[in-house]
């Protein structure tokens, strides 16, 4: 039983990484922008966050550094696709390729570095409940934070005027423009916020999730987060659900190995990627359903004079 409690705890932790990034990408996609650079942004933020903690000793500054790096890269991406009208897929891809190289380049001197001792978090009293305490109440604050953030995002998108404007920019940029909203500025800000969240996720990986720096340590989580937005048909609550589902698959491999299941370890390591493919195929099977839910201008550039 104890091991199941730990499995749940690890699942929530792994799901948090994916959820933060996927919610950021959701904000991008709600205004009509696909950012395939998530993996690269997360890698750069992971090293930025890690380096900040090494030098300052403060996790908070590490998260801020990660968010800053993510927002900066998001801004570069935004200038290119929104103001220069470059192809979103190609530009995102460029960002990912650049991020992989750049993070490895900058990170080379941090490979051996160690972080100051990690804090153990627990919620007083609740953490002492047998099993439940270990499963749910000994987590990093961000694990709870991301749930609150997803709730806030639901309220923001569907209950506030600004949220409505944001969605209209993604659904019909022409109408939003005709109503006097600056489509490009709104898209740019959303892309920066999305970048900052991918950055937070990257920093969470290198500071909390696996507190060290290894080249390419994001290991496809940026791409899985991108798949999650489709999986969730662009709804914040489903993103949270999907993130925990994938977090669970990631953790299952360690659990199965622990149980001594006779399967090659490579097969277990491939599970999260295989699961992403299978789930993506199942969700996409009905193209009408996807089209109804997908922001209508997704991937399309907008030029105000046209």
């Amino acid at each position: 039983m104890e091991s199941y409690a730990l499995l749940i705890a690890a699942t929530l932790n792994a799901g948090t990484v994916l959820a933060i990034a996927a919610l950021g990408l959701l904000i991008n996609e709600k205004v009509g922008v696909v950012n395939l650079g998530a993996e690269g942004m997360m890698l750069c933020s992971a090293i930025a966050g890690f380096a900040a903690v090494v030098h300052t000793g403060s996790d908070l500054l590490g998260f801020l550094a990660g968010m800053g790096a993510g927002a900066l890269l998001g801004a570069i991406f935004g200038v290119m696709v929104i103001y220069l009208g470059t192809n979103q897929y190609a530009t995102g891809l460029a960002l990912s390729l650049f991020g992989v190289g750049f993070s490895a380049f900058v990170g080379i001197s941090y490979v051996q570095e160690k972080l100051p001792p990690r804090l153990q978090f627990e919620i007083p009293f609740l953490a002492d409940i047998p099993l439940l305490g270990a499963a749910f109440f000994k987590q990093h604050p961000l694990v709870y934070g991301v749930i609150a953030f997803a709730m806030a995002l639901i309220w923001f998108f569907y209950k506030t005027r600004t949220g409505l404007v944001l969605r209209s920019v993604g659904e019909s940029p022409e109408s939003a423009h005709a109503l006097g909203y600056s489509v490009r500025r709104i898209r740019f800000l959303a892309v920066m916020v999305g970048g900052a969240l991918c950055g937070l996720s990257g920093a969470y990986i290198s500071v909390v999730y696996t507190p060290l720096w290894v080249e390419g340590m994001v290991a496809g989580k940026g791409w899985i987060a991108l798949a999650l937005t489709t999986f969730a048909t662009w709804r914040p609550a489903r993103i949270l659900l999907g993130a925990y589902l994938f977090g669970g698959v990631t953790m299952l491999q360690f659990h199965l190995q622990g149980l001594g299941v006779q399967v090659p370890s490579q097969f277990l390591s491939a599970l999260p990627y295989l699961a992403t493919i299978v789930v993506l195929a199942m969700i996409s099977r009905n193209p009408v359903w996807i089209r109804v839910n997908m922001p209508a201008s997704l991937g399309k550039p907008f030029h105000p004079s046209s």
Binding site: L84, G85, I277, L280, S284
Partner: protein
């Protein structure tokens, strides 16, 4: 302030000038990076642009690295022109190498030289199979090919890892995760002694001609591109989008698999966990910088090969991390995309606020 003004027609001049300008911007950023790191920028430029071309041997090595990039990028050009986004060429490269390696391991002392042909064909088939999974999922389930092909890169690495750590491990290899060295008969023939340039280069150049003829001189090549540029026009003309999808992915997968076979039965000579080299990703940049045109890709493949060799030299002689290659590759693609804006738009100075 500066303002972008839509051109009535895309500029022919900038179509060709933009990659050159992008390269100049990348070089300028590179010089800045060297200065920032306290390294002599002239020496840095020498590593990237002079050392790789200064002797016949160096030129040979340049071709050795350019060959797989050229082969993969040719396939990707066909794929991207059809508006199919296969970004998992790296995985198809790895599976091609695995399939080719599997055949090569079957050879023994008595096997004839014909085995080389089977090795190469196995590589092509492996790459096609891996890309075919993406095509099938897109065709039957409408699954996004970008994400599926990318996820399959990680799966391909696991397949390779399983084989070299498990059933295919060399029993006499001191427990290193690698297969036994392939028999000499499986080796891709070299063009001349004293250089590692192989028949692969000839295959690659034949591929350049073949892709050129296919794209610009055949009806199906035309249909392929119409589907990419104007899907509704293609539908009206009766061109099948499903056929285009399969053709695009099988071509690019086969090309990546071929590159994998040429590498593993050429310079490498055995399967190791280090087969995934990033060529599949770099080839995306090669394809773009070469304007998705077979002739352009020849030049960009050579340029990217210089980046690789320059990066290795910068590591051994200047103490810089090898990953500087990746930084420059990314910067080059970024600059190119930004410069391409000049194709569709013209820059205008405008006084005051518009």
């Amino acid at each position: 302030m500066l303002k972008l003004e839509l051109r009535p027609q895309a500029s022919e001049f900038w179509r060709y000038a933009s990659p050159v300008l992008a390269l100049l911007i990348t070089v300028a950023l590179g010089i800045g990076l060297f200065v920032l790191l306290g390294k002599d920028p002239l020496r840095g430029l020498q590593m990237f642009f002079w050392e790789p071309v200064k002797s016949a041997y160096a030129l040979g090595e340049l071709m050795v690295k350019a060959t797989p990039l050229l082969v993969i990028a040719l396939g990707l050009a066909v794929c991207f022109r059809s508006n199919v986004w296969n970004i998992g060429a790296e995985g198809q490269f790895v599976i091609g190498a695995v399939a080719a390696g599997g055949v090569a391991l079957l050879a023994d002392k008595e096997t004839g030289r014909w085995i080389v042909v089977v090795v190469v064909l196995a590589g092509v088939a492996g790459g096609m199979f891996w890309a075919g999974i993406t095509a099938w999922l897109r065709d039957q389930f409408h699954a996004n090919e970008i994400l599926v092909s990318l996820m399959l890169v990680y799966v391909a690495d696991m397949v390779l890892g399983y084989l070299v750590y498990g059933p295919w491990k060399d029993p006499a290899g001191y427990n290193f995760p690698q297969t036994k060295t392939f028999e000499a008969v499986t080796q891709i023939p070299r063009l001349m002694s004293g250089s590692r340039v192989s028949v692969g280069l000839i295959l690659a150049l034949t591929g350049v001609a073949a892709v050129w003829v296919f794209l610009f001189r055949t009806r199906s090549g035309f249909a392929q591109q119409v589907g990419g540029l104007a899907p509704s026009a293609a539908r009206y003309a009766g061109f099948s989008s499903r056929k285009a999808l399969w053709l695009a992915l099988l071509t690019s997968g086969g090309a990546a698999g071929l590159a994998g076979a040429l590498e593993v039965a050429g310079p490498i000579g055995q399967l190791t966990p280090y087969i995934p080299s990033g060529y599949g990703f770099a080839a995306i940049i090669v394809a773009y910088v070469g304007r998705l045109h077979p002739i352009g890709i020849v030049f960009s493949a050579i340029l990217m090969s210089m980046f690789y060799i320059g990066g290795e030299l910068a590591q051994s002689r200047m103490g810089l991390p090898k990953s500087i290659t990746g930084v420059f590759q990314g910067l080059l693609l970024f600059s190119l995309l930004a410069c391409d804006t000049l194709m569709a738009y013209r820059l205008r100075w405008q006084s005051g606020r518009a």
